[in-house]
Each structure stands twice: as structure tokens, then as C-alpha cells.
């Protein structure tokens, strides 16, 4: 297994009482996977992602990348954040932004230039090398951030709700871009989202999380054809079934945290019926 999360637990030491954000998470990604992580809002998705990226120390459990325990940001991992405007450096041109992590690695100049040009072409920004991020639209800025991650040649690409701040049309384009990059480059992607349709549309597998304190509620295989497009895939009856199932699971997760498990069991049954 390429990336493994084992018994991960994160408790924030609050001023009055400790807050348990993540209770017990175990799952894994094989090389070449495209897995979507979806859960009710406030379920600790970002906490989990930061622990996986080595930006936050877990309270218990561990994250393993190629069987090596993650204690700080590991070299083989790139993160794409939701806030592209704050993640890109406004004092650097698009090219310099993409090149910076490579320069920091000590990579020779020629190789750097090739990777940067290749990555920008792959996200459809071949002619934006000299622009500054703030001269671009939101969707294009997020493309720059994706190009920066791709040029870094990571083993695993972590994406934290990357399209939550762009408009619906741009979002559809970017979703297809991710599918294309994944198929062409063979990177392993963990895609965190709160959008159920997006999770089903993008993923080979969808990991459904419970409400906080978070555990894995279900791992769902998405048995849609590999060739997906916005029109046919989204109108596919199987797509509708899967999204209804995920939706019901998330509703159940929300209810469980407020009402109690009895009512939630009914929702889970409902979710199962949808899939049959």
C-alpha cells in the first residue's frame, strides 16, 4: 500500500475541554488510486488532511507513506489547498510559483524548465508563464496551483476541497482536468470534498466519513466506466443511485450525531435499499 492511515486520532486541547476532531480513522491508498473523501461539514476532513500532509501531529495512530512514518511534510507528497489565492505567492510570476519547489529541491535548471513547461501545458496554461497569479481568474489560479503540484512529481497528491471556491462551470472543467491528469500521469490522488456529486463523479472509490468525532462510515466502490464526462456520466442511472446512496449515508451520519443511533439505523437501511 502506498499511503496508509492507521488508527488516526486527533484531539485539540481546547481552553475549557479537549475537542475530539478525529476519533479513529483507518484506510489506505494503492499506487494509482483516485479516492474521494466525503463527509458532513465540520467532520474533520481538513484536520485529517493536515495530519496526512505532515503539517499537524496526530494525537494517536500514524500515517505511513511507502511504509515510512510521516512526521513532517514528506518529500513525495503535494497538497492543493482550497484557498488558491493565498496558496500562490503574488510576488512571483506563474512560472516562478511552479518552479519554486523544484528549485528548493536543487534540481538542475534545464530539468526544472522542462517540468514547469510540461505542467503548465498539462493544465492548459502554456501561454501564462509570465503572468502574475492575481492577473488570472480564480479557476486559472487553481490550475496554476495544480500545475505546481504536478511539476513536483509527487507520489501522492492531496487535494483539500480544491474547487469549493470556483463557479459551477469552472468546477466542471477542473473536475475533468483532474480525471485527465490522473489517467495520463498515473498519479495517486486523494480528493477531499463536501460535494457528493463531485466525489462520485471523480472517484474510483468514495470514503464516507461520519460526523465528528470522525470514523470511516463506508468505503464505496464507484463502478462507473473509466471514461467519464459531465453529460453522460451525470445522467447515468448508476451515477444517480450512487449519489443517492452517499447522500443518504451522510444524512444518516449527521442525524446520528444529533438524534442518536436508532434513527440513523433506519437511514442506513434506506441507503442500502437505494443501491439494490
Amino acid at each position: 500500500m502506498l499511503l496508509e492511515v492507521r488508527d488516526l486520532k486527533k484531539v485539540y486541547e481546547g481552553r475549557q475541554r479537549p475537542v475530539e476532531a478525529v476519533r479513529d480513522l483507518t484506510f489506505g491508498l494503492d499506487a494509482g488510486d483516485l479516492v474521494c473523501l466525503v463527509g458532513p461539514s465540520g467532520c474533520g476532513k481538513t484536520t485529517l488532511l493536515k495530519c496526512m500532509a505532515g503539517l499537524l501531529a496526530p494525537t494517536g495512530g500514524e500515517v505511513l507513506l511507502r511504509d515510512k512514518r510521516v512526521t513532517g511534510p514528506p518529500p513525495g507528497m503535494a497538497v492543493v489547498f482550497q484557498e488558491y489565492g493565498r496558496s500562490l505567492f503574488p510576488w512571483m510570476s506563474v512560472r516562478d510559483n511552479v518552479e519554486l519547489p523544484l528549485r528548493n529541491k536543487g534540481m538542475p535548471r534545464r530539468q526544472r524548465q522542462e517540468l514547469v513547461a510540461g505542467a503548465l501545458a498539462a493544465v492548459g496554461l502554456a501561454d501564462a508563464h509570465h503572468a502574475y497569479p492575481w492577473q488570472l481568474s480564480g479557476g486559472m489560479q487553481q490550475r496554476v496551483a495544480i500545475a505546481r503540484a504536478v511539476a513536483y512529481q509527487p507520489d501522492v497528491l492531496l487535494m483539500d476541497e480544491p474547487f469549493a471556491a470556483v463557479d459551477a462551470q469552472t468546477r466542471a472543467d477542473l473536475e475533468d482536468l483532474i480525471r485527465d491528469l490522473w489517467r495520463e500521469l498515473g498519479v495517486t490522488i486523494l480528493f477531499v470534498t463536501h460535494d457528493i456529486d463531485e466525489a462520485v463523479y471523480l472517484g474510483q472509490r468514495v470514503i464516507i466519513l461520519s460526523s465528528s468525532p470522525t470514523v470511516v462510515r463506508e468505503v464505496l466502490d464507484v463502478d462507473l466506466p473509466d471514461q467519464r464526462d459531465q453529460l453522460t456520466t451525470r445522467s447515468d442511472s448508476r451515477f444517480t443511485e450512487l449519489r443517492s446512496h452517499v447522500y443518504a449515508q451522510i444524512q444518516a451520519a449527521k442525524r446520528e450525531s444529533t438524534v442518536g443511533s436508532h434513527d440513523a439505523a433506519r437511514q442506513t437501511d434506506l441507503a442500502r435499499q437505494v443501491l439494490q
Binding site: A53, G72, P73, A78, F89, W91
Partner: protein, 255 residues
């Protein structure tokens, strides 16, 4: 009319009032000579090698003092700002030392260096240092947490983060600090020369006053004013050049 033309006509009005006022008898021409006599005195000064020497002395004291203050302020600001323990340790000390007016150190400067240029430098550095330090401390605090997490996730070490993230973030603040410090440094340079008698435009003003060369005194005061304006314009120019990417300079971009 453009803003520049309006500003110039305002200045012309001031010169005209100074020219007319002595003739009305409201003020004595002994204390406020008309503009044309000040202008003539200025022409005399410009022809005098001693004037240029004094101007040079003032500029050297200003530039050297400012350079020391800026470098020290930036280094101290980044070190203190980046280490939370140091920040907590120094906060109250800075708040105590900063409000001490630099001129209160004049007796100490005289005690240490007499009328040499070091006296001027000491006052200039003290006054300018705090301007820079405070701004750098604000700048260091302004680093975006998302940008910092991005840098860390791409494996940028402490030094790389200072160079590629912290420094560009703090630069707008640094430039504000330098601009304020440049103005304060000039004030202190002239003050030190005037009060202590260290060589420079300040002591030349004192000499002109004590030898009753009132038009020359006004001419020299005008020169210090022009110096201040030039310094401010130059600082703004450098700021625009270095911060072309910053929203205060680039303006709104339509996308």
C-alpha cells in the same frame, strides 16, 4: 487643472505672500526678508564651496545613520518576529525604549563623541531604528498561514521560507518603515548639527543665525525642506518599483 499644477500654484502663492508680507509692516523685514532676498542668499550659498561641504556632511550622516538603522531594524525584526519566545521577552522593553525622544540622548552623545559625526549618527540611528523595527515586526506577523503551510508541504526549510515567503510578505511594511525612518533621520541629522554643532547644514544654519545673516538662514532652511521632499519622493519611487505586485501599487485588476 491637474493636481500637480494646483500644488505648484499653491507653492507660488506661499512665495508671493512671503515676498509681500515684509512690505505690509505686519512682520519686520529683519526677521522675515522678502522672497527675492532669500533667493539671492540661496544663490550665494550655491556658489559657496562651504555650503556643498555642509550638505555633503548632512547627507553622509543621514545616509550612514539610516543604513545602519535599516539593516539593524530588519535583522532584529526578523529574528525577534520569527521566535515567539524572543518576541514575548522583548515586547515590554521595546515599548519602553521606543517612546524615548532621540533628542533626549543629546547630552549622552556629546559626552561620548563631542561634536564629531558619531554624535549625529547615534541620534539618527536611535530615532530611525524603531521606525524600521516596529514595521518589520508587523510585517513578520502578516505571513499567511495557508502560504506558510504550502511552503512547508513543498519541503521549504526555515531559511527558504524566510527568503521566499517571510521577506516578500514583510517587504511592504519594511518599505513603509524605511520611508518613515528616512524622514526622521533627516530631522535628527539637522537637529544634532544645530544643537551639538557637528558639521553639516544644521550648524551652518546656526552660524547664519548668530552672525545675523537672516536671508541665508532662510535659504538654508529651504534647502533642508527641499532635501526632505526629495528623500520622500525617492523613497516612494523605490517602493513602487519593488512592490509592483502588491495590491497597494498594482491597483484593481479586472479578470
Amino acid at each position: 487643472m491637474t493636481r500637480g499644477a494646483l500644488g505648484l500654484s499653491g507653492l507660488a502663492g506661499l512665495l508671493l505672500i512671503v515676498e509681500v508680507l515684509p512690505y505690509t509692516g505686519l512682520v519686520s523685514a529683519d526677521f522675515l526678508p522678502p522672497t527675492h532676498r532669500i533667493a539671492a542668499a540661496l544663490a550665494d550659498e550655491i556658489a559657496d564651496a562651504g555650503f556643498w561641504l555642509a550638505l555633503w556632511d548632512t547627507l553622509v550622516a543621514w545616509a550612514v545613520g539610516l543604513a545602519i538603522a535599516v539593516v539593524a531594524g530588519i535583522v532584529a525584526g526578523i529574528v525577534i518576529g520569527a521566535v515567539p519566545v524572543l518576541r514575548a521577552l522583548t515586547a515590554s522593553t521595546i515599548e519602553f525604549l521606543r517612546p524615548i525622544p532621540s533628542v533626549a540622548l543629546i547630552p549622552l552623545a556629546v559626552l561620548l563623541y563631542g561634536t564629531q559625526i558619531q554624535s549625529t549618527l547615534m541620534l539618527v540611528v536611535y530615532a530611525a531604528f524603531w521606525q524600521v523595527l516596529i514595521q518589520v515586526l508587523y510585517g513578520v506577523r502578516d505571513v499567511d498561514p495557508i502560504a506558510d503551510e504550502t511552503a512547508r508541504s513543498y519541503g521549504l526549510g526555515a531559511w527558504a521560507r524566510v527568503r521566499y515567503l517571510l521577506w516578500p510578505t514583510a517587504l511592504p511594511y519594511v518599505m513603509t518603515g524605511v520611508r518613515l525612518a528616512a524622514a526622521v533621520a533627516l530631522v535628527l541629522a539637522i537637529t544634532a548639527e544645530l544643537v551639538i554643532g557637528a558639521p553639516g547644514l544644521g550648524s551652518r544654519i546656526a552660524v547664519a543665525q548668530s552672525s545675523n545673516a537672516v536671508p541665508s538662514m532662510y535659504a538654508l532652511i529651504a534647502v533642508t525642506g527641499l532635501l526632505g521632499v526629495t528623500i520622500n519622493l525617492a523613497a516612494r519611487g523605490v517602493e513602487r518599483l519593488l512592490l509592483s505586485w502588491h495590491q497597494s501599487v498594482r491597483g484593481e485588476v479586472l479578470v
